[in-house]
């Protein structure tokens, strides 16, 4: 599974524990595959790495052994592609009068910045937030300011002391990309972001995030530290005083030009490209596919993982940091499931459709492998009847299996009911296809899709996600269940009907979120509320007395019915300020007090 920006990363898992080996299954068909892929010699299978290339070769060999072939017109199952593997500051500079500030100590380019050199007068635009007119809530940091051809200085985040309702609205428009867009649209040539003295992480620069969007933002943008900020504000009131005025959230507190301040800004972002490989194969139909409605069925799982965890979505800490992230559950388990399904499908005497078998790379850094494939046209999406994705299916607990993206076709309910009657899983159905895994790309390409997962756990995105913790008995059951579905899909007269699911509104920007509660949400639960699959040792949730299995139904007076509500409610919390958390445990409502900490 790729980083789950809205949730897990936000909630900030920081400690690894809990190692219960379950379901030994000595004769498990998936066990050898998981143990092989999650071995040290593949080094955590980072996209573009030697370990990933070795894993791809191994998987191509396994597929060939099962009787799968390279796609029509190809002589190899390996499908290499170029991708942006990361970015770093390559020497951003800012000149202010006779002083020159340099990266990385004083400032850092924002990852989406254009490489440009801009200079001019500087205007302070408060928090740099513009709430669209459509929101019927007047807030425009640029009101009355002329920033055309100038550089803009804005504060990071949103007003600290605003009441909750105001923060709820402003937070939505406080992402740095959004602030950059607002500045550019008003004619600014550059953007400088300051983390104010009254905010968390005061005076620090914004770490460069990995950003796969190749298109620039049309503006030169950098974050600066407290020293640079002090130099910018040296001629007038202190930044702290200015911020305090703004922090009430009063929309009438205006920004102002920084009199006599002229700067030159030259952000430099180095984007590193690398080559990764999808492994693509197929089992040909057993009869002529001409006349068959959408003649392909696709199975897929990503096999790449985080390598040594240096790209930012690792949650490893302490001694674990820098060790190989073996990714047994994420996603050697899904890869093994795809191979097991392939084997079962290959044994069936009849297939009216071709079965595409796709093992994706570069999923962890933005679902790039599957996107590249879908854009490439080798097998056009409109010829694919259905797509089954497997991401983290090796940690089943209590017979619970989540099936996601069911909203992509009204035909899924019937197919799933029929397959699950004999399989007997406690299924959780989630309509939403906008999951942080490759299923999202297929759903957006109008392919009826499903994702299978047994959910997140405390070893998620850590070196401790190892093969000995996989529940092989149930992993094999998941593969058998999916094989039943795959065979039916391959032989259906009419392909499932596709339905587009609208993206859930109100998703929040990552950089607006900053509290740490130490909760691990349970993705396989369809409980009304947010069920916890764990709490981080020593974190605020554990200190408050919450534990695994609790279902949070209310935080600080905000009712919680799902993970989106939860994330949204967290956004509104104030670090260090205790709030009441209402939850269900053993059928009874209880209330505890939780004090959120700052996320780093």
């Amino acid at each position: 599974m790729s980083a789950m920006p809205r949730v897990v990363v936000v909630l900030g898992l920081t400690l690894g524990l809990s190692a219960t080996a379950v379901g030994q299954g000595p004769s498990s068909p998936t066990r050898v595959l998981v143990e092989t892929l999650a071995a040290e010699r593949f080094g955590g299978r980072e996209a573009g790495s030697t370990g990933e290339a070795l894993a791809a070769d191994y998987l191509a060999g396994e597929l060939a052994r099962l009787g799968a072939r390279p796609l029509p017109g190809r002589d190899t199952m390996l499908a290499p592609f170029e991708f942006t593997a990361g970015n770093r500051d390559a020497g951003t500079r800012l000149t202010l009068g006779d002083r020159t500030f340099t990266a990385p100590d004083h400032l850092l380019a924002l990852s989406f910045s254009d490489d440009a050199t801009v200079s001019g007068d500087v205007v302070f635009a408060g928090y740099g937030i513009v709430v669209p007119d459509s929101q019927d809530f007047g807030y425009d940091s640029y009101a009355g300011l002329d920033v055309e051809g100038k550089l803009v200085v804005v504060l990071r985040y949103y007003p600290e002391d605003a009441d909750r309702d105001t923060r709820a609205i402003l937070a939505r428009y406080s992402g740095l990309r959004y602030k950059a867009m607002a500045a550019r649209q008003r004619g600014a040539t550059g953007l400088l972001v300051v983390t104010g003295p009254r905010s968390p992480n005061a005076g620090t620069t914004v770490p460069m995030t990995f950003d796969t969007a190749l298109a620039g933002s049309g503006i030169a943008a950098a974050s600066v530290n407290g020293e640079v900020a002090a130099a910018l504000f040296a001629g007038g009131r202190s930044l702290e005083e200015v911020q305090q005025e703004l922090d009430s959230g009063n929309p009438h507190v205006a920004g102002f030009p920084l009199a006599g301040v002229t700067v030159a800004l030259a952000p430099r972002v180095a984007r590193v490209t690398a080559t990764a490989r999808n492994v693509l194969a197929y089992l040909p139909a057993t009869s002529d596919v001409s006349g068959v409605d959408r003649p392909w069925v696709a199975l897929g799982a990503h096999y790449d993982h985080l390598g040594l965890g240096e790209r930012g979505t690792s949650l490893a800490t302490g001694d674990d940091a820098g060790r190989p992230h073996l990714g047994a559950d994420d996603n050697a388990s899904g890869t093994a499931a795809v191979l097991a399904v392939t084997e079962a499908v290959a044994r069936m005497p009849e297939r009216r459709r071709h079965v595409l078998v796709a093992l994706w790379s570069a999923e962890e850094i933005g679902l790039i492998g599957s996107k590249t494939f879908l854009d490439g046209g080798t097998v056009p999406p409109d010829s694919i009847a259905a797509y089954l994705n497997f991401d983290m299916v090796g940690r089943m607990q209590d017979n619970r299996l989540a099936v996601q993206a069911t909203g992509t076709s009204p035909d899924w309910a019937s197919l799933l009911e029929r397959a699950n009657v004999p399989a007997g899983f406690d299924l959780t159905l989630q309509a939403d296809p906008y999951q942080p895994t490759d299923v999202q790309n297929f759903a957006q390409a109008s392919v009826p899709s499903l994702n299978f997962t047994t959910g997140a756990h405390l070893d998620y995105h850590r070196p401790s996600d190892t093969a000995d913790k996989i529940n092989y008995v149930d992993l094999d059951r998941v593969a058998a269940f999916a094989a039943t579905l795959a065979v039916r899909l391959a032989n259906l007269d009419e392909a499932p009907v596709y339905v587009r699911v609208e993206e859930t509104a109100g998703t929040t920007s990552r950089d607006g979120l900053r509290v740490f509660t130490g909760t691990v949400p349970d993705y396989t639960s369809e409980a009304e509320g947010l069920r916890l699959s764990g709490v981080i040792g020593g974190g605020p949730a554990e200190q408050a007395g919450l534990r695994q299995g609790d279902v949070i139904v209310e935080i600080d007076g905000q009712s919680i019915t799902n993970i989106y509500d939860y994330t949204y409610a967290l956004e509104l919390l104030t670090i260090g300020e205790p709030v009441a958390v209402v939850f269900q445990r053993d059928g009874a409502r209880q209330t505890v007090t939780l004090t959120p900490e700052a996320r780093r």
């Binding site: 019937s414 409980a527 509320g529 059928g587």
Partner: protein, 379 residues
């Protein structure tokens, strides 16, 4: 086979405003009785009332799962393959199915012979389309008659012809008898003014239990004669008794009763002073599983009571919302029931492994039965 509609509907309205809760798998406290809890039906808006074939390989149930008809139809599920096939005609309302031992024929109540069926379907769909909310009320349609789907050739045979609601039917273990609920007594005689008002307000008040030969070859014989809705009858596993639920005259309180096949020796098993209904006797013959809202008007839970009702009932489920219509498998090792624990207002059929040994132990440990306040006055 039970009228779940009335009860579910009231519950549903209240659930919608109740606090959100954990609603997944086995709730706390259930684990001792229920293992591997899972949702069996997935397709469609709602499903319920699952009854097993005698060999435990099939389940017949009602579900709303096809476009064009907003009412329940009857479906047969093969538990080995997962295949599901509709056995009712698809038209009109149906309810309360049951598989005949020996033949595999399927008995159910249906209104498809009513020429107004299509119009009524369209009317209900239009009502839904309008976005209005209604407190669902099952109408005890006097057109409802008992029909049999013949497994041999898929043809339908009509068993009852009297005006009045004929439904909630089940077979005896040897397949030779049918026991069912009917309101026919309200249609075959002159009603007093008060009775006419009652029929208008709540026709279920006239529901009584009847027995007849499975082939419909003789007139039904009436077994109950107490004002208030008697319904939901089933035979005991040895075929010697009938279990059903009896509402009080006001239609608010219901309790579980058993009687002989001729209506003799009626015995009251429960006395919660609440709505206790949907009883089914475990194949061991030792105890009854039923649903009651004792713990909250909108919160139906499953309970057990010993077959003679000598002890206090024992609670089985612990999930807010609706748990009802429990039916143990013929081998007594599994339980199918209807619940909305998966979310939303509508029920679906769930399945679990049933811990019979624990049930016996829990009943053994239960205290002697207490009478509910004021219950001495009731029959």
């Amino acid at each position: 086979m039970q009228q779940i509609h009335n009860v579910l509907a009231v519950a549903a309205v209240l659930i919608a405003t109740a606090a959100p809760v954990a609603a997944q798998g086995a709730g706390p406290g259930e684990g001792a009785f229920l293992d591997r809890v899972r949702r069996l039906t997935i397709e469609g808006r709602r499903a319920g009332e699952g009854y097993w074939s005698p060999d435990g390989r099939q389940l017949v149930f009602q579900s709303e799962r096809e476009p064009g008809n907003p009412f329940y139809q009857i479906y047969l599920m093969d538990l080995t393959t997962g295949d599901v096939a509709r056995v009712s005609p698809g038209l009109g309302k149906t309810t309360c199915s049951f598989i005949q031992p020996g033949t595999g024929n399927i008995l159910f109540g249906s209104t498809h012979h009513d020429p107004r069926s299509e119009a009524l379907q369209a009317e209900e769909l239009a009502f839904r389309e309008s976005g209005q909310e209604r407190r669902y009320s099952w109408d005890y349609d006097p057109e409802m008659e008992l029909w049999v789907w013949r497994s041999a050739d898929g043809t339908l045979q009509r068993l009852t012809h009297a005006r009045g609601y004929d439904a909630e039917a089940s077979y005896s273990p040897d397949g030779r008898w049918i026991v069912f609920t009917s309101t026919r007594q309200a249609y075959d005689r002159a009603l007093t003014e008060k009775e006419r008002a009652q029929l208008e307000l709540d026709p279920s008040h006239f529901g009584e239990i009847y027995i007849m030969p499975a082939d419909g070859s003789a007139e039904p014989h009436r077994l109950t004669d107490v004002p208030g809705y008697d319904g939901g009858p089933f035979f005991s596993p040895d075929g010697t008794r009938i279990i059903w639920r009896r509402f009080d005259e006001a239609g608010l309180i219901a309790d579980i009763w058993t009687m002989d096949l001729d209506g003799g020796d009626p015995r009251q098993l429960t006395d919660f002073g609440a709505m206790s209904w949907a009883p089914y006797i475990h194949p061991s013959g030792e105890y009854v599983i039923f649903a009651s809202n004792k713990l909250g008007f909108e919160n139906f839970e499953l309970f057990l009571v010993d077959i003679d009702g000598t002890r206090e009932p024992v609670r089985v489920t612990y999930s807010d919302g609706f748990d009802g219509l429990p039916v143990p498998s013929p081998d007594g090792a599994r339980l199918a029931w209807t619940t909305n624990r998966g979310g939303g207002r509508e029920g679906q059929i769930y399945l679990a492994e049933w811990n019979h040994a624990h049930a016996l132990a829990a009943l053994e440990a239960a205290p002697a039965r207490r009478a509910a306040a004021g219950s001495e006055d009731r029959p």
